[in-house]
């Protein structure tokens, strides 16, 4: 949280805020996309009151994939261990609610802090390596966290999962209802705020430097950018967002399982990110929504059926990339006209 708020203040202080500034290359203001998303999310919640559980899940996974996009799409670090931060955030929020106090917002802060601390601690070690070595080391870290959570049965419940905590009322007056209406609105609100924060973070000078490192590490180092420190900051910020997503998941479902730390969660999030398009933040949300809706419909027919769908979809996306398909369509329409 500390790191995140620091960057936020930096982003706010950045001079490129004025829309009339001719030198500013940005066209859309940072609040537009989150606002559109808020409208879409609210509309979905009101139009589909039977699907509030699925919608809450989409908001939470959207936040998680968003944080993954900061690492993969913005910083260009391929990782398969992002679930570690999600799971630690979830367990931190769950244990906090069970043992200290049931207030959701304080629990959310605890989850954010846990995710950021884990990301900062492991990032300090991981970010010395690049490419395939980095990828495999993230897997190792995530699996070690999973083994530790499995071992620390007294705190995490081990295989049985952590449950038995009841969340207190939000802001001291709104009680979590059985239909999950408040849970959905709560998750949506947190997602919108985090989306705005991530947008500002990515457009800040700090975010620009990280994107520059993604494009060309050697050149940014030659320009005097402290490459390691910038990547570390971005990794910690992404960890904070992933922790927030984990805490939301723990608070809205009232149970935390070992699967929130699993390899498959990391892999699925990566698939969602690629489906939506990496590096644009909004793509992360689109990917999460498409993936989860597909999952929901296909898996309700047959769980293995679902693997056919997602496997075929993945192969199709690689063979016919969305950008290429759009270009092809445009060409054909242009050719006819």
């Amino acid at each position: 949280m500390n790191a995140l708020s620091l960057f936020k203040t930096r982003a706010l202080a950045s001079p490129q805020d004025g829309d009339g500034d001719a030198a500013s290359p940005r066209c859309a203001p940072a609040w537009r996309a989150p606002l559109v998303m808020l409208a879409l999310g609210l509309a979905a919640c009101l139009l589909l009151p039977d699907q509030l559980g699925l919608l809450t899940r989409i908001f939470i996974m959207g936040l998680f994939v968003l944080s993954l996009d900061l690492v993969v799409g913005i910083a260009g670090l391929a990782t398969l261990g992002h679930a570690a931060m999600f799971g630690v955030g979830a367990y931190a929020a769950g244990v906090f609610a069970l043992r200290v106090m049931p207030d959701p917002l304080v629990g959310l802060a605890v989850g954010v802090l846990a995710g950021a601390v884990l990301a900062a601690a492991t990032g300090a070690f991981l970010l010395r390596y690049q490419g395939f070595t980095f990828l495999m080391l993230t897997v190792a870290v995530a699996q070690m966290v999973l083994s530790l959570a499995h071992k620390a049965r007294d705190w995490t419940g081990g295989d049985d999962g952590l449950s038995g905590y009841v969340m207190g009322p939000l802001l001291g007056q709104f009680q979590f209802d059985l239909e999950g209406r408040l849970a959905a609105f709560y998750a949506l609100a947190v997602l919108v705020v985090c989306f705005y924060a991530a947008r500002r973070l990515v457009d800040s000078p700090f975010g620009m430097a990280v994107r520059g490192i993604h494009e060309n590490r050697a050149r940014m180092a030659a320009l005097g950018t402290p490459v390691y420190r910038r990547l570390w900051g971005m990794y910690a910020a992404a960890g904070a967002l992933a922790g927030a997503a984990g805490a939301l998941s723990a608070q809205t479902t009232a149970v935390v399982g070992l699967d929130s730390l699993s390899f498959s969660l990391s892999a699925e999030a990566l698939v969602m990110l690629i489906l939506g398009g990496a590096g644009r933040l909004s793509g992360a949300l689109v990917g999460a929504a498409v993936f989860l809706v597909l999952h929901h419909t296909a898996a309700s027919i047959n769980p293995y059926h679902w693997l056919f769908v997602v496997g075929g979809l993945l192969m199709l996306v690689v063979l016919v990339s969305p950008a290429k398909a759009v270009a092809w369509l445009r060409n054909r329409r242009g050719g006819r006209a």
């Binding site: 391929a78 897997v139 070690m144 071992k151 698939v271 293995y304 059926h305 075929g312």
Partner: protein
């Protein structure tokens, strides 16, 4: 003392299984620069072939194994020739996504064709017994696994360093354009290498059926282990993969015997340490 020797034998056998599965991936990843995450699926196909041939058709284990290895190799060659070769020039992420998608489809097809239950590989009587070595009796299956692992290591190393094919392979890897101008059939070399890697994985799937139970999710479950072996051993290094597989196999087996409630913590901790110490592979400075 008994525990110690048990750990040694089981760990060696486990390491050999990991090595036999990983060697093909190490070659395609290190020499052909192709990230093939569907490699675990090849091991699964090999194991399933043997399990089904021996159980449903009552074939002899000794006929079923070579046939299964051959079938896996053919499947690898077919996939390579039809689809995967178009991905050699693509970005790593594209390769990862495509092969993961392929793995999903293979898992789903396995489930649709055979069902979700665990498949047992029925060993012939000569393997299910134990062998008296004078000082100790050891399970014959473990000895076979260790022997086959060593044979695969020696054969692979000799093929790459000593044969005409190995020279072609290294030439094709170093500079494909020049190699093909010199008349080396690049496409055939790549296809054969990929098929051989897939066939080895199939063999590993059969050998390891006892420690890694065959089920549809096999392809994903053990993929991480195989990737760890390749990463620690260094991509493209056969000797490195062998060392990494044996050390990691011993560590995993020892932690299962002595500290089972810690899960895979020690395995992954060892991997992180090795990678931090030698990021390019155990045997490369």
């Amino acid at each position: 003392m008994i525990t110690f020797s048990n750990i040694l034998i089981d760990g060696l056998a486990y390491g050999m299984v990991l090595f036999v599965i990983a060697v093909g991936l190490s070659v395609t990843l290190g020499l052909m620069r192709f990230v093939n995450l569907s490699h675990g699926a090849f091991a699964m196909v090999g194991g399933y072939c043997v399990a089904l041939l021996t159980r449903e058709l009552q074939w002899s284990f000794w006929i079923a194994v070579p046939l299964a290895v051959l079938a896996t190799g053919l499947l690898g060659a077919l996939l390579e020739a039809l689809v995967l070769r178009h991905l050699y020039q693509r970005k790593e992420l594209d390769q990862v996504l495509f092969t993961i998608g392929l793995t999903f489809v293979l898992i789903a097809s396995t489930n649709a064709l055979v069902g979700p239950q665990v498949q047992m590989v029925q060993l012939p009587p000569s393997l299910s017994g134990s062998v008296d070595l004078g000082f100790r009796t050891l399970p014959a299956q473990r000895l076979l696994v260790i022997g086959v692992g060593l044979a695969v290591a020696v054969l692979a190393a000799l093929t790459v360093t000593r044969t005409r094919f190995g020279i072609w392979l290294r030439a094709a890897v170093d500079h494909a354009g020049t190699a093909s101008t010199l008349g080396i059939p690049i496409r055939r070399v790549q296809c054969l290498t990929f098929a051989a890697g897939a066939a080895m994985a199939g063999l590993g799937g059969v050998l390891g059926a006892e420690v890694m139970p065959l089920e549809p999710y096999y392809a994903l479950k053990y993929l991480v282990l195989v990737l760890v072996v390749v990463a620690v051993g260094g991509m493209g290094s056969i000797a490195g993969s062998l060392c990494a597989a044996i050390v990691l196999g011993l560590i995993e087996t020892a932690s299962k015997y002595l500290a089972s409630d810690w899960g895979s913590l020690f395995f992954f901790a060892a991997m992180a340490l090795f990678l931090a110490w030698r990021p390019n592979g155990l045997l490369k400075r």
